[in-house]
């Protein structure tokens, strides 16, 4: 009986130690493990100019402009705190649209704008049929 309790205590201590160690490691990773910068982070911490980074947020409503050459576009990324204008030349993913999430890979320019080399679409955790979503999003975007 006694040996069993001793083993239980040892195992629980080991779990506590491993859990505590990983919590420490994770809190140290907190900033490094982020997948992208939000516009608000950039405003707070300064521009990481010249480095390859990712910028993530929502595409601002009515901000997508397609340029005359047919493959370039400009849009604005916002997180509600700050906004960043983005220039991109290339093919955007199907789910790239206004008022939806985007992660742009590229780098910041000294003037605070962002030049993207690749776009990823980010969607949220909501799933619903088009009829219910119809009031918020036009269903024609399904075919787009």
């Amino acid at each position: 009986m006694k040996a069993k309790h001793q083993r239980l205590t040892l195992v629980l201590l080991a779990i506590g130690a491993v859990g505590g160690a990983s919590l420490l490691a994770l809190s140290a990773l907190k900033d490094q493990a982020a997948f992208f910068y939000a516009p608000g982070d950039v405003k707070k911490d300064g521009l990481p100019i010249g480095r390859a980074v990712r910028l993530g947020g929502m595409v601002a409503d009515h901000s997508i402009q397609r340029l005359a050459d047919g493959v370039s576009m400009r849009f604005v990324v916002t997180d509600g705190v700050a906004t960043v204008p983005v220039a991109y030349k290339g093919i955007a993913p199907d789910l790239f649209r206004e008022k939806s999430g985007v992660v742009a890979e590229g780098s910041f320019n000294p003037d605070g704008s962002f030049t993207a080399t690749n776009l990823l679409a980010k969607h949220d955790e909501k799933y619903m049929p088009p009829e219910i979503a119809g009031k918020m999003h036009e269903t024609k975007t399904l075919q787009q």
Binding site: A14, F35, P129, P130
Partner: protein, 246 residues
């Protein structure tokens, strides 16, 4: 724990596991069938993703069982280390392979889903990376169990590894909360879901179905391990008899 003691007896366990295996297996297959039929033919497409959303009915159960499998290994390892129940380590060994397969399927279906929605097969974001780590941790556990067997170990080292590996589970679960990730946040909580009920319902069938299926496979593998141990013991006894009479 009297309830665990009953199952710790392999003979009593086998008496229960033998009829239970096919019940779990076929119940699982049936529920998966209903869920897949519903998910492919009865539910509406998503407003944003269109038909692509249907891979959800496979992707979510594989993620659940990839993580649930390791929870099983961790609990079995704890029971084995503290109470020394021989069946607990057999359960952990039986869970390892199907758990790894489901974690691998989760990564594969996620990748197939990511290409049309996000525009990428793979990104090193918090959720994807921590799930890949869990897959490797499974492979490590299987290698460790085999190595421990080969050197005649008592299973204590793999059991410690099984407990240590469980730190990944909260990391995977909360990766989308702690860090900003490409993967979206949690859709299904204990009380509410952000998936509309018209899209959600087949998921319950595939979740339940894959879980029963998984349990059936695990029981099957536990019986196999027990039968092999018994056969080896008999061979060893026969070898002894031959030695004595020769």
């Amino acid at each position: 724990m009297p309830s665990l003691h009953i199952l710790a007896n392999p003979a009593r366990f086998l008496k229960l596991a033998r009829p239970l295996t096919p019940v779990l297996f076929w119940l699982g297959v049936g529920l998966i069938g209903i869920g897949v039929w519903g998910g492919l033919t009865q539910t509406p497409p998503d407003y944003l993703q269109g038909e692509t959303v249907r891979i959800l009915y496979i992707h979510v159960p594989t993620a659940w069982l990839g993580m649930g499998g390791w929870s099983g290994i961790a609990v079995s390892s704890l029971v084995f280390l503290v109470w020394r129940h021989p069946l607990a380590m057999i359960a952990a060994r039986a869970i390892a392979l199907p758990g790894a397969v489901f974690a691998g399927l989760c990564l594969a279906t996620g990748s197939i889903w990511g290409r049309p929605t996000w525009g990428t097969w793979w990104q090193w974001d918090g959720r994807l990376t921590s799930m890949l780590l869990l897959f490797f941790v499974y492979l490590g556990f299987m290698a460790l169990v085999r190595a421990d067997d080969d050197r005649g170990g008592d299973g204590r080292i793999p059991a410690l590894y099984g407990i240590a590996g469980s730190v990944l589970l909260p990391i995977i679960r909360y990766s989308v909360v702690w860090w900003n990730t490409l993967h979206q946040g949690q859709s299904i909580g204990l009380t509410k879901s952000t998936i509309d009920s018209s899209i959600l319902w087949p998921l319950w069938f595939t979740l339940g179905g894959f879980t029963f299926f998984f349990a059936g496979i695990v029981l099957m593998r536990m019986r196999t391990i027990l039968a092999r141990t018994k056969a080896e013991a008999r061979l060893r006894r026969m070898a002894n008899v031959v030695e004595v009479t020769a």
